[in-house]
């Protein structure tokens, strides 16, 4: 309930933000930041009460009988999105120097609201509504740069996401057709008929567009590399994660120990095929993502393919259809969100254009700006799973989920092997960019970015460090 209140509050803030942006540089940003901070506070105060299980809410009965669910996974992911969003808003107030900023903040806060909505939707139609809202606001944010490239990226994104939404809608219709219910919890029932299973698979595929699952990921590199930095930061850190959570959401009702099924009860209908589809998509995503990232000459494109690979790891965890898999996925969303958005913020203005984010033009940037070098280097190392940062534990959890499910099917052992091989592959390109950007010879003198601009990025890295050194603090909220 409180989360929704917070979400509504955000929309309100967005309205306010529009006119105030003309008055003062920081006003709009501060309003949205305050709203996000309030949401985070509300979320935190409410958290202990959701640790027990799933709370189902229906705040409005008629005529829009939307249902919401709140449990540890939704709360944690909403928290992730809000933390990233907060950092991005703080960053944006420093990033934009001139021009109209009001609509940007408005869109951003609407997007935050839709992200929380997606995360806590309790029925498929509510999920779809917020999903569409997320897509539209993300489209607005991507094209905010107004350059030709960001327009092109925006159009590609809109096109792909549009088809994805159609598939989602079709899937929802099929599930409703076979069960007569659109509640998330009833998905288990839909799998009793083969038509329902097809619908569910199509639903997964549609959600997979936004989550950048290979072969539906093709819009992502353009969006990551051509949109304004704050957009790239929030899309990479929050939207991709929430989109994966969308998949998690429809998988969760099938998971023994996921909260929907009574303990010991298996889901209705044979789900082996769904697991296989998820496993195949996971394998494709991580392999294509990592291999493509190996040969990128542009840092932002490299980061986008690394996100595709990370989506693959999360899907691998989800494919096990087990409680450890859910924990692993949610925890990876958190770790990836912090680090990826922080990398974009660290790159900042020097990489705001495609030329500027080429590996060659960023070469040695960390040498002339030590703080940037430290941030960029640490975040890259952290992202490939080096301790003492949080991603290290994510990798362990993903493999744990796979090995845990191993006795149920050899495919999971093979997938675990694929994950570790992919992790090794990824070290190649992460370390390469560290070598070039942080340690490479400088081609000329560059100005150091003011320290305050790096503050949001530093805070996110610090959170990741805390997660790595004291994982029990963060994991206590999801277990």
């Amino acid at each position: 309930m409180e989360i929704l209140f917070a979400g509504g509050f955000l929309s309100l803030a967005a309205d306010l933000a529009g006119p105030s942006a003309f008055l003062k540089r920081y006003a709009a940003g501060l309003v949205v930041a305050a709203a996000l901070a309030l949401s985070i506070a509300v979320l935190l105060s409410d958290w202990p009460s959701v640790l027990g299980g799933i709370v189902q809410l229906q705040p409005v009965k008629e005529p829009f009988a939307s249902v919401y669910v709140v449990d540890r996974y939704t709360t944690f992911t909403a928290f992730t999105a809000l933390v990233v969003g907060f950092a991005v808003v703080a960053y944006s107030t420093l990033y934009f120097e001139s021009g109209r900023r009001g609509p940007f903040y408005a869109l951003l806060s609407i997007m935050m609201c839709t992200l929380v909505g997606v995360v806590s939707a309790g029925d498929l139609l509510t999920l779809f509504l917020f999903w569409e809202g997320m897509t539209v606001s993300a489209y607005g944010l991507v094209t905010f740069g107004r350059g030709q490239l960001s327009m092109e990226a925006g159009i590609k994104y809109f096109f792909m996401a549009g088809i994805g939404s159609l598939l989602v809608l079709y899937g929802i219709a099929a599930v409703y057709f076979s069960t007569g219910s659109i509640l998330i919890g009833s998905i288990g029932l839909s799998l009793t008929t083969s038509f329902g299973q097809l619908g569910f698979a199509v639903l997964l595929l549609g959600l997979g567009v936004e989550a950048a699952v290979v072969p539906l990921h093709t819009w992502l590199p353009d969006v990551y590399s051509a949109s304004p930095i704050p957009t790239a930061s929030v899309v990479s850190g929050a939207v991709t994660g929430v989109a994966v959570f969308g998949i998690l959401k429809v998988v969760q009702p099938l998971v023994p120990g996921g909260g929907y099924l009574p303990p010991g009860l298996q889901p209705v209908g044979g789900t082996g095929a769904i697991e296989l589809i998820l496993a195949a998509l996971a394998l494709l995503s991580m392999t294509v993502g990592n291999l493509s990232a190996l040969v990128q000459g542009n840092v932002r494109r490299m980061l986008s393919f690394s996100s595709v690979a990370q989506t693959g790891y999360m899907l691998a965890a989800l494919s096990t259809m087990s409680a450890p898999g859910l924990v692993a996925a949610v925890f990876t969303i958190w770790n990836h969100g912090l680090l990826k958005s922080n990398l974009f913020m660290a790159i900042g203005k020097r990489g705001s254009t495609v030329e500027g984010s080429q590996l060659d033009s960023l070469k040695g940037a960390g040498r002339s700006d030590r703080m940037f070098g430290f941030l960029f280097g640490s975040s890259s190392l952290a992202l490939m799973g080096a301790p003492p940062f949080g991603m290290f534990w994510s990798e362990i959890l993903v493999i744990q989920a796979l090995l845990f499910a191993g006795p149920a099917g050899t495919v999971f052992y093979l997938l675990a092997a694929a994950v570790v091989i992919n992790i090794v592959l990824s070290t190649g390109y992460y370390f390469r960019v560290v070598n070039t950007v942080v340690f490479g010879e400088t081609s000329g003198s560059r100005e150091a970015v003011p320290r305050i601009d790096l503050l949001p990025s530093i805070s996110l890295l610090a959170l990741s460090l805390v997660t790595g050194i004291a994982p029990f603090v963060i994991l206590g909220w999801v277990l």
Partner: protein, 582 residues
Amino acid sequence: MIIAAWLSWLLPLLGVPLVVLAARHSGRLGGWLAVALSGGSVAAAFYAALTLGASTTEGYTLWFPPLSVTLQVEVDQLSVLVGAFVSFVSLLVVVYSLGYLKDEPGQARYYALVMLFVGSMMGLVMSGNLIQFYFFWEVMGVCSALLIAFWSDRPAARRAGLKAFVVTRLGDSSLLVAVVFVAVTFGTTSFSTILGPGGIASLGTGTIFVLGLLMFIGSMGKSAQVPLHVWLPDAMEGPTTVSALIHAATMVNAGVFLMLRMYPMIALPQLSGSLADVILAVGALSALVGGACALAADDIKRVLAYSTISQLGLMFAAIGLGNLTAAAYQMVSQGLFKALAFLAAGSVITALGTREIDKMGGIAKLLKFTYAGFTVSILAMAGLPPLVGFWSKDAILSSAISAGLFPTLVLLAAFALTSLYGFRLLFRVFHGHPGEAVKSPSEPPLSMLVPIGALSVSILVAWYLIQAQPLLSSESWLPGPYALASSLSVIGASLAVAYFVYLSGYQRSAALIRSSRGLTSLRDLFHDGFGFDKVYGKAYDGALGPLASAVSRLQTGLVEANTALLLLAVGVLFVLFAVGVL
């Protein structure tokens, strides 16, 4: 005692931020703070060693709840022995750094990474469970790669850091699977539980073998065993202090340490020695390959790196032969004499400004102190009694003699190679005619000489401590008379050969190698490290590179192509539905 074990690794780790702050103020201050922290760690580790009673495990806080991991220390003979030795060498290397890195930029980064490394190595040694062990194992890997690339102005140093990271991660990923498998299977990774009767021993034979193999592959990466050894010679691009500390004395031992810790698994009767045989084979092969390459390398540090590969191979061979005490002592003695060799080599490199052996020579009288230290180190490496190397190597040989003729011959060949390259280095660097780099070299500052002196003394006296107490098993591990006789004759013969080939008749032997095609190609084979790098390079250029380019071409940037891919995915789904898979 147990508090000391905690302090020995927490002290350097908690000190990292302080070192950064201090070193940003002044590099020297950061250095001295690092010395103080290392000193504290040494005191704690030695206190734990001296007051060791029964083996104890102590854990606090649920550190990583999903796998029920607590922060644990395990204090037993193995951990206190290795802990005391690691902290001791670390302290000396940090002291040496004060002089060696004087006026270098980037001291904050250097001392912070070194302290992080020392804390992690001590944390690894004291770890009570596999997850914690793996955590520190990975932190060390990061520190190692970043320190190799410390002089980042050099492209070679950056490449070497990358290579070290990728190659060791290959091994690490294997270890990761093994560790998580143990955690998932037993609900705990605590050594005392998984090595107990209800632990790994209760698994099927095939599972144990695969599990052991996965862990061993991890060890091979970290401890630079063939074929995962290729990163270590390149790692010599890092500062010599880093080579001495990480790539000779401490981190490279972590793989051996893991095998020692997990030895009850290797020795399980149902495996009937199969895992031990694999370890023995890899160890013996590495000992030979490393030794042969050390004979042909022309960079003083690369010689020492190949020598490390060879010596680590001997430790694995000892584990394969079941002589744990000999393996542990070989670890300690190799750490001491190799750290000494590197520190002395660092003083030579500082004095002459080159790493190439061909440009050195005839400096024995100019750098007397360094020469004395280096000689002690080479003699210990060759295994001359009563220096530390003798006891551990001959104990390994004794085990080989009782195991059969073949391992004995292989080990004797490795010993011969050790003496040969050791004396070659000694003669070519310090004796003979002065090379072109020799102008007017002088001894390094006191902060660099003191560690050289301290290590030399420790090599001279450590044998007394070692032979006084058989730490790891009550069985006699001391070398037998056959081992003594054969190894002494090998050392003598090698010394004679090295004298004629590399000192008195150097011009003649060099001409002989040049004129004989067979000898030239043999030397080139050794010099190129048996072509491992070329094979790996070809594998990348021929397979992975083209594959990556091909895959990246999927990204056309065309909306039509993207949509086609999407529709293809939907199509596949429908086909699956039609054929009844769904």
